[in-house]
């Protein structure tokens, strides 16, 4: 039993599925057969009774809901307002710029003469479906670490969808926030690496040099977004010859070994492929030519990616929105990924009604 915020009393949700019985030594025994409750005789309705068995089953998850009350609210992570509030100040909505940084740095700024990659994630249209997570996992050869490792907090996802709720636990407002490496301009991970395994490239991407990484994990500690993932064990398959699993890997992406750090690369390999095409045709990479895996999978087009050096690119234009904000802006990390604050348009007639869906 795992009660979610906002779950109505007396309702139990069961995910449909058969459970896995023939999925190899890793997959076998994972999941449960929900069709025990749903036979073809009575596909829509069956009388059920729930009773305590006295035993417990360990559930692990990568998605925990966090309250935006108390300290959560004061951190200004999710910025949200109503359509009315937005219309009151369309140029500078009050709910967007609640915390700001004061740029101060000992190190000079980087200069970008060619491309400067950037991303915007629109929280208004994000529905929290997790398609980006799956797409990223497939694209970037991200190892599946299994239940035990997830239970101790070692999932490897490069992108995750953070869930926050606000308001009464029985009737909360939910917020989803896709979270991946913010590709900070002033990345806190870079100066703390003793071997220079995480560096800024000439297009502003914070890159990981896997074969230089010795695994101090200082970068992860110093990352305020905690988007770095460490290979605590040999997660990727070390196969001397091709196996089913290794054949499923994306050949354009390195498979990481034990003891190195990894994280989102803005789909570096897709940028490289586009660059080769463009250079062969002696032109610049056009806007929309590079589509990251998460962006391609997003059903609501909440993720916009492109060259921010080009003022005409869709990402540059989106970043000029009044709703655009940088996460943890006051830390002066100057992220390349920005968010569009969530604008809600609640129906005042439904507000306060029992069992409101959110």
């Amino acid at each position: 039993m795992w009660i979610q915020p906002g779950q109505a009393r007396g309702v139990i949700t069961v995910q449909l599925g058969y459970g896995r019985t023939h999925a190899g030594h890793i997959g076998n025994g994972v999941g449960f057969d929900a069709y025990a409750l749903r036979s073809s005789d009575s596909p829509w309705y069956a009388p059920l009774e729930v009773s305590k068995t006295g035993s417990s089953h360990q559930l692990v998850t990568t998605q925990v809901h966090h309250s935006l009350q108390g300290t959560g609210e004061k951190r200004h992570i999710v910025r949200t307002g109503t359509l009315e509030e937005f219309r009151a100040h369309p140029e500078e909505p009050e709910f967007v710029h609640v915390a700001e940084g004061k740029p101060a740095d000992l190190y000079p700024d980087f200069e970008y003469t060619s491309y400067a990659w950037g991303m915007v994630i629109d929280m208004t249209v994000c529905i929290g479906c997790n398609a980006c997570v799956t797409a990223c996992q497939a694209e970037n050869n991200i190892p599946i670490v299994g239940k035990k490792q997830v239970a101790v907090g070692r999932e490897m996802h490069w992108i995750r969808v953070d869930d926050y709720y606000r308001g009464d636990i029985d009737d909360p407002e939910l917020f989803q926030m896709p979270m991946t490496c913010q590709q900070c301009e002033k990345a806190p991970c870079e100066p703390v690496c003793p071997v220079g395994a995480t560096v800024h490239d000439h297009e502003g991407i914070n890159v990981m040099v896997y074969n230089r990484c010795v695994g101090t994990r200082y970068c992860s500690n110093n990352c305020p977004y905690k988007v770095r993932r460490f290979n605590w064990l040999q997660y990727a398959e070390l196969a001397p010859s091709a196996t089913e699993l290794s054949l499923a890997n994306n050949p354009d992406v390195t498979v990481r070994s034990r003891g190195v750090m990894e994280k989102c690369t803005y789909c570096q390999q897709r940028i490289a492929a586009a660059r080769i095409d463009a250079e062969n045709q002696d032109r610049r990479i056009a806007d929309g030519e590079v589509v990251t895996a998460c962006q391609a999978a997003c059903p609501t087009e909440a993720i916009v990616f492109g060259d921010i050096n080009d003022p005409e690119s869709s990402v540059s234009k989106t970043k000029t929105s009044a709703l655009n904000y940088l996460l943890l802006e006051e830390l002066n990390t100057v992220p390349r990924t920005s968010y569009l604050a969530k604008v809600k348009n609640p129906n005042s007639e439904l507000a306060g009604e029992e069992g409101r869906a959110s």
Binding site: V64, R75, V152, G153, M179, V192, R217, F230, W232
Partner: protein
């Protein structure tokens, strides 16, 4: 810091002496050297038992290291966000232990504190062994320990260089310097004593062993002069290390931007904490050692009293550090900082915080009383409590801080595993094995300096002057055996 001890508050009485009355040069050599020179069969039973226990813990250490290297960092409980856990806690703990050795041997020598003389040798040994235990941790802690040398600036075919902005690279130099200077200083100090052992050696093997180690020392005036110069120079060289090493370690944390780490008070407060932990370890080792070897005449109650005084003083500085941390968190007005201190005091690991305040703050208060400071048993108990408290302090700073940082979505708990603890307990085995070998093979008290002290006591001490006044008789020169002091 050594100056804090001040003058003894009462008349020179038996209990306040840095060396017992009427020690002769030969007697000092006898008491210190005879257990070292005794044949293997004459090794006391307690030594064999202790050495056996130490070796079994060392075996556990080696097994833990092999498992770690074969399986991976994942055998520990670390995760994201707690990417640093037990290994770094233990690293900082061990490196702190070493500080008392350097303070006693270098700083107190330069401040001309004669009471350091009989405890400096084993305190220095303690420093070196603690640095060995500490220094292995950052290497084992790496995801790929076999390429640890990539942190060092050496010419290589990759054309790569370390990244000097990282405090971890400063660590490499801090620990490297600390280790090498400590070993040099310790060894230079040992040379005349090794020569005495050579001269007193009974068997052939002993003679060859100590002859090789004493570098052909012949006790010439020139030799003594050079020795004194070198010793003083090395003392001057290692004195800054008392302040710099732990400051550098502190910067591993204060350079990071995490709430609870990004703190300018860290370097001085870490140094105070290191000396605090170090003196607790000195007492943990000295109290049984003086009993076992019958060294009460050389390691006197005065030594214990002074060490306890230093422990009290540095303990209060550490306590001040804790309060400044909390004050600054509130004063900053930053939500992240405020929540960090709230989480420490009332969060999931509240017990660690309150236990640490009890161990480091409350437990040392009896040291205000001379009766407690001069009671070896009470001191032993308090020192052990402090050692635990200092471990908890690092647990709170390293692990508890990491569990909850900026984004609530990445907050997670930290649970240690069997291998976390086996490596830690095993490192005691490494330390204890080295220490048992040291007290068996080398003089655990600097006899040369103890003889200087005896000379001073006999010729310039208040006892002597009183004696002269009372008897109006010339002082009788003590019997001189072995090397001249």
């Amino acid at each position: 810091m050594g100056v804090i001890t001040g003058k003894p508050r009462r008349q020179v009485t038996e209990i306040n002496r840095v060396i017992a009355r009427g020690q002769s040069y030969g007697a000092i050599d006898d008491v210190v050297d005879s257990p070292v020179l005794a044949g293997p069969l004459r090794t006391p039973r307690w030594w064999w038992i202790g050495f056996g226990i130490a070796m079994s813990f060392l075996a556990m250490y080696l097994v833990s290291v092999v498992v770690l290297i074969v399986v991976g960092t994942g055998v520990w409980g670390n995760n994201v966000p707690v990417a640093w856990g037990m290994p770094i806690i233990n690293f900082v703990w061990w490196i702190g232990i070493g500080h008392a050795g350097t303070l006693i041997s270098a700083a107190l020598l330069l401040f001309r504190q004669p009471w350091r003389t009989t405890i400096n040798r084993f305190a220095e040994a303690m420093t070196i062994f603690a640095v060995v235990c500490a220094g292995l941790y950052p290497i084992l802690h790496l995801g790929r320990p076999w390429v640890f040398y990539w942190l060092a600036p050496y010419p290589n075919t990759f054309g790569l260089w370390p990244q000097f902005r990282s405090p971890l690279d400063w660590d490499l130099f801090a620990i490297g310097t600390y280790g090498s200077v400590s070993i040099l200083f310790w060894y230079i100090g040992l040379v005349p004593d090794l020569a005495t052992l050579r001269d007193r050696a009974r068997g052939k093997f002993q003679r060859i062993f100590y002859s090789a180690l004493c570098l052909g020392w012949n006790g010439s005036t020139k030799g003594w002069q050079r020795y004194q110069r070198a010793y003083l120079l090395l003392a001057a060289l290692s004195f800054p290390l008392v302040l710099s090493v732990h400051s550098t370690i502190a910067m591993d944390f204060s350079v990071a931007q995490l709430p609870g780490w990004n703190n300018t008070v860290f370097p001085p407060y870490f140094v105070a904490g290191a000396v605090f932990a170090g003196f607790s370890m000195v007492l943990i080792l000295a109290i049984p050692l003086r009993k076992a070897f019958g060294l009460e005449g050389l390691i006197t109650i005065r030594h214990l009293d002074n060490s306890a005084n230093l422990m009290l003083a540095t303990g209060l500085m550490v306590l001040y550090g804790y309060s400044i941390e909390a004050f600054m968190a509130w004063y900053s007005g930053a939500e992240f900082e405020k929540y960090m201190i709230f989480n420490r005091i009332f969060g999931d690991h509240w017990w660690a915080f309150w236990l640490l305040i009890t161990c480091n703050g409350v437990a040392i208060q009896p040291l205000w009383f001379r009766r407690v400071r001069q009671n070896p048993r009470a001191l032993l108990v308090i020192s052990m409590i402090v050692a635990v408290g200092m471990w908890l302090e690092r647990f709170v700073i390293v692990a508890v801080t990491l569990t909850k940082d900026f984004l609530p979505s990445s907050w997670a708990d930290y649970r240690t595993t069997f291998w976390d603890w086996s490596l830690y307990l095993g490192s005691f085995g490494l330390f204890a094995t080295l220490f048992f070998l040291f007290i068996r093979l080398l003089p655990s008290i600097a006899t040369t300096e103890a003889k200087e002290l005896a000379h001073h006591d006999a010729h310039h001490g208040s006892d002597y002057l009183e004696e002269v006044r009372a008897q109006e008789a010339p002082y009788e020169t003590p019997v001189v055996k072995g090397a001249q002091a």
